[in-house]
């Protein structure tokens, strides 16, 4: 099988090709009412995979500047691939209401050149 075809099959199966498995993985844990880490340092153009988990209840992870909006369910890892296309500081929040303190639950993604 030619490589191009092999990659296409992997894509159809929803499997990441080898290059993606080498992408930097950043683990982010959520709990009432904080993310750890709350600041995520990225480089423009460098693909990363955020592996999101929650220690207690269902949470959200929304970074609207990068069109990311996912739910984080207890007991599961939610993976998000992100390729920052701009430099700066961009906020992210929990957008699944989780209690008194939810409004302050967030952090920032800092992208350098």
């Amino acid at each position: 099988m030619k490589r191009r075809g092999f990659l296409a099959v992997l894509a159809l199966l929803g499997m990441a090709p080898l290059a993606r498995s080498q992408e930097r993985v950043i683990k982010v844990s959520a709990k009432k009412f904080e993310f750890n880490p709350s600041e995520i340092a990225l480089k423009k153009g460098e693909p990363v995979v955020l592996e999101l988990t929650t220690e207690d209840v269902t949470m959200g992870f929304a970074a609207s500047d990068f069109n990311v909006d996912v739910e984080i369910v207890p007991g599961k890892v939610t993976s998000v691939r992100l390729v920052p296309d701009k430099v700066g500081s961009f906020g992210f929040i929990c957008d699944v209401f989780c209690g008194d303190g939810h409004e302050d639950m967030g952090g920032k993604i800092v992208v350098t050149g």
């Binding site: 269902t58 959200g60 929304a62 970074a63 609207s64 500047d65 909006d69 739910e71 906020g91 992210f92 929040i93 957008d95 699944v96 209401f97 989780c98 209690g99 008194d100 939810h102 409004e103 967030g106």
Partner: protein
């Protein structure tokens, strides 16, 4: 607020409040014959049970003051709506019910026969509306008033801020019986449009609700959640948010983060208030009057 005639207040509104017209433009005479004029009052985001002197040292007194101010209006409104966050959230189900009960007791002093409620995320998101329903019944519904069709939409019982397919289908079916020129008012808690998603000022499937509303030519949405006035158009649909009755929040995008505005002892209750909404069918449009809370 001292006793004040509503019409006098409207005349004064250029000084102390704001009059805003929207929504019914071009549909004069389309409502039923008795619907020449009516008005209702919107109160929002009372957050009963909130404690925090830096933001509101009179947290337990602000709602009763608003109730007294509404009762002091010379002309009683046809009805009153509370657009959510009646109570401040708590993880304790017993405390949640205690706050809902206290809130209900306070607003029972309103001298208006018809008071309609809907939940905010603080009331309903942690138990999917279970406690709220025990006190106030269903979380979405519709009703007619003098030729205007009102729809109360629940975008908070799902903690992820979804209206949900079932409710959207219900709204679509509810509206299908109406003429496309019928005046429609939607009452909800969160903005249906993406006002500021990075501050959680949005409804995840709000766009679908707007798409359902779009064929109707005279739609106005009144909502809460953002603790301040905001006026926005999505095509011909007007969206008006209401002030809070606990503490104001900063204007969308004005700061890096969403944050409350601290209490100013020199200007107590600044940024808090409620709204009168007058629908005059012969003079097309809704007139919005912002009423302050005073010591």
């Amino acid at each position: 607020m001292s006793e004040i005639d509503r019409r006098d207040f409207l005349k004064l509104a250029g000084i102390g409040g704001a009059v805003f017209a929207s929504g019914l433009a071009g549909c004069a005479g389309m409502a039923s014959a008795e619907a020449d004029e009516f008005y209702f009052v919107q109160l929002s985001d009372t957050h009963w049970g909130f404690k925090g002197d830096a933001l509101n040292p009179d947290a337990a007194g602000t709602l009763p003051k608003a109730v007294a101010a509404v009762n002091a209006l010379k002309e009683a409104p046809d009805f009153i709506v509370f657009t959510g966050d009646l109570t401040h959230t708590t993880d304790d189900p017993k405390e949640r019910r205690r706050r809902l009960a206290e809130f209900k007791g306070i607003v029972s002093k309103l001298d208006v026969k018809t008071v309609r409620f809907m939940p905010g995320e603080h009331d309903a998101s942690l138990d999917r509306g279970e406690a709220y329903k025990e006190f106030f019944g269903v979380t979405h519904y519709s009703f007619e008033h003098k030729g205007v069709h009102f729809v109360a939409l629940d975008n908070v019982s799902d903690p992820a801020a979804r209206i949900g397919d079932e409710q959207l289908a219900w709204m679509k079916a509810d509206l299908e019986k109406l003429d496309k020129d019928a005046p429609i008012v939607v009452l909800t808690h969160r903005p249906l449009f993406d006002l500021m998603p990075q501050w959680d000022w949005a409804t995840r499937d709000g766009k679908q609700a707007i798409e359902i509303l779009m064929p109707y030519r005279h739609v106005t949405v009144f909502y809460g959640h953002i603790h301040q006035e905001n006026h926005h158009m999505t095509a011909h649909i007007a969206h008006h948010s209401a002030k809070s009755l606990i503490f104001p929040l900063v204007a969308p995008g004005s700061r890096p983060k969403r944050e409350p505005i601290p209490w100013d002892a020199a200007q107590p209750y600044r940024g808090l208030g409620f709204r009168g909404i007058e629908a005059e069918v012969k003079k097309p449009g809704y007139e919005l009057t912002e009423y302050p809370v005073k010591a």
